[in-house]
Amino acid sequence: MTGQGSARPGPRLGLSGTGRAADELYLIAHHEQTGRPHLAPRAVGLGLAGALLAELIFSSAAIIDAGTVTCNGLSQADDPLSITVAGQIAVESPPRPVSDWLAFLARTASAEVAARLEDDGYLTAVPGRPWRGARWVPADPDCAFAPVARLKAALDPSRPGDEQAVTVAGLAAACGLGPRLGLYLPPGTRYCIDALVGLLDPGLHDVIAATKAAVDAALLAHRI
């Protein structure tokens, strides 16, 4: 499986995307025209939290060891949000389990990833109503939908596995986006994703499993 990790992000809007896992997942989780989430807010937050951890793993800024998250060096992180998350992990002692980081990051992940995408030109902030906070609308529907198309191409069985694509697909399925992906991916892709997730680096596998558990727990505890 080729490990493309997190490519250095481009500052301008484009069909190729930013190359960051959380950005890809955010766009998949929201409608490409209205910007409305396809999931409950807490589920989106947990999925994006998992994606932020995955970004750190891809850049070797963090490692998962025995279910706990440890910072591996702030210099590896390559954007302010990743640096912030890596810094938060670095100061926690003893290291916390993945589930704690998911719960912690999920509180603000949606807004922070949206802000990052806005900086890169993919989203436009729309003023909110008094009873509702600000929301973001895709600047270009084609670019907003492109991550789904990239996933479809990356998960093609005839192509070498893309570690980031599989991770994004796994996180998407974990937080409840399986039916949405099922609309655009070939039949049976769900099982293909499960199989590919099983081949991932153990740390990434742990993050995806923990995300799934967190979303399930929130649903069963009436928090979603």
Binding site: L39, T84, R116, D216, L220
Partner: protein
């Protein structure tokens, strides 16, 4: 330029942030009480129980059952500290008595909660029809209004639009206020000018024979259904060791006081010897007319409808969550464990909706009385199922802690659960033996054995299915009772019985 924050992180920030997101005792207590639907019990269950059973010791039953449930709760909350699973009953039973028994318990729980949910339409229908006729001039059969409520619940269940916390809170407070006001009014106007305490006396529980205590206990347990939900929020609680027990015991006390005094007020106002006849004649009106205030009576009638609807929606959501949890573990077909858009387990929600539609249609086509035969019969049968689960859970708690005390007191891990198991099992036996009295039918009537026997049948199916899973699908069998944590490598508990 990025606006993402670059604040210097401080140690302990994660702990503080996680703590802020957790639920305290008031939030958990509110969650429990909102599911209890007090006016549904006070105006629906209690008058119907008086009328159907003819027994008058209902107030005493609430007090005695509250004490028994408090004993049960000692072991229950101790178990909740050891097991992180929102599907408390079956997870605890699986951990204590084995996964095969756990599967049987899961199906029994699903059946019991489903009966409780569907039965509510039997009260909503006729009362909504009455209100519509009186205030809107709209006349229609009870089942039309029941189907209307069913349709709204079905749609809201698919949209995952739970009645918002604030709306539920307002309704809950209003219901409690109305019940208290009516109770005070009723006690202030006792029959014959003399306030009788006879129905509060535990001695009254066996006045018509020991078996009647079992009947009264089922009615009382029905009033407490919902108190067992506190561990559902255990993982979300600020301090699970304190929050869950505090919310559980507070809920028990609150429920006991409200229902015991309300039912006492009804008996005192109508007269102990006349309350059954009065309840048969007035139905929920027995509660609505306690204070003699027309305004309060009308408010109570409207809140009764909102209470029934909120309870139907709340139980619908609880049933599909249970179904989803079992589908996730593959105890039920996997389709039930999948979510569609917006994290809705569509199949699980539709299954419960289909059940409700079938039951309402069946009762409508057979022209059966909805208040007695749908609301009370299915409701009390659901209560019997809950009581069975309470008894088996108590036994499971004792067995679980016998393997590993986990630092729990001997009261919590052995004495309380053993005592609760014996008392609850005894009550179940008494109730089943006198089920005809509970349903208000002649001894030997088919309903008197079909309804309780259905639990035996479902448990048998569950045991068989559990054995099949153990032999033919060991991976699925191994994950039974793990709940959401089945997705991770670490189990929810240690020291599980294979």
């Amino acid at each position: 330029m990025s606006r993402t924050r670059t604040a210097h992180p401080k140690p302990g920030a994660v702990s503080r942030a996680l703590a802020a997101d957790r639920l305290g005792v008031p939030a958990v207590l509110f969650f429990v009480m909102a599911g209890v639907a007090p006016l549904t019990v006070a105006a629906g269950v209690i008058p119907t129980a008086y009328a159907t059973t003819g027994l008058t010791a209902i107030p005493a039953a609430f007090i005695v059952i509250a004490v028994i449930l408090a004993i049960f709760s000692a072991g229950y909350v101790a178990m909740a500290r050891a097991i992180r699973n929102a599907g408390a009953f079956y997870a605890f039973i699986a951990a204590g008595l084995g996964r095969v028994t756990g599967v049987a318990a899961a199906l029994v729980a699903l059946f019991a909660y489903s009966l409780l949910q569907v039965g509510l339409y039997g009260a909503f229908g006729p009362n909504a029809a009455s209100e519509a006729a009186a205030h809107l001039g709209v006349h229609g059969p009870w089942w039309a209004f029941a189907l209307g409520a069913w349709a709204v619940v079905a749609v809201l269940g698919l949209a995952r639009v739970e009645v918002t916390g604030r709306v539920l809170g307002v309704l809950l407070c209003a219901e409690l206020a109305v019940i208290i006001a009516q109770t005070v009014g009723g006690l202030a106007r006792p029959a014959g000018g003399h306030l009788s305490f006879a129905t509060l006396s535990p001695a009254a529980l066996g006045s018509a024979g020991l078996g009647t205590f079992g009947v009264l206990a089922v009615v009382a347990v029905l009033g407490f259904v919902g108190f067992e939900q506190a561990p559902v929020l255990g993982e979300e609680a600020k301090n699970p060791r304190r929050t869950v027990p505090a919310a559980t015991y507070t809920a028990l006390a609150l429920i006991a006081v409200v229902y015991a005094t309300a039912s006492w007020a009804m008996a005192a106002h109508a007269g102990t010897g006349h309350v059954a006849a009065a309840a048969a004649a007035q139905g929920p009106g027995l509660m609505f007319g306690l204070s003699g205030s027309a305004l309060l009576s009308q408010a109570a009638q409207w809140l009764f409808l909102t209470s029934l609807f909120a309870a139907a929606l709340s139980f619908h959501n609880s049933v599909w969550r249970y179904t989803y949890a079992l589908g996730r573990e593959n105890v039920l077909p996997t389709a039930f464990g999948r979510t569609s858009a917006s994290n809705i387990p569509k199949a699980a929600s539709l299954a419960q909706s289909a059940t409700g539609l079938a039951v309402i249609t069946g009762y409508a086509l057979t022209h059966q009385d909805p208040m007695t035969r749908l609301f009370f019969w299915l409701g009390t049968s659901g209560g019997l199922g809950i009581m069975i689960l309470l008894a088996v859970t108590s036994a499971a708690v004792a067995v679980f802690f016998a393997r590993n005390a986990r630092g729990e007191s001997i009261w919590a891990r052995l004495i309380a659960p053993a005592l609760a198991a014996i008392l609850l099992a005894g009550i179940v036996v008494l109730a089943v033996e006198h089920y005809a009295v509970l349903l208000g039918v002649p001894p030997g009537s088919p309903a008197a054995w079909v309804l309780p026997a259905s639990y035996a049948a479902i448990a048998a199916v569950g045991l068989c299915w559990g054995l099949i899973l153990k032999v033919r699908r060991p991976q699925i069998y191994a994950a039974i009772g793990l709940g959401a944590h089945a997705a991770t490598a670490a189990p929810a508990i240690t020291g599980r019985r294979p």
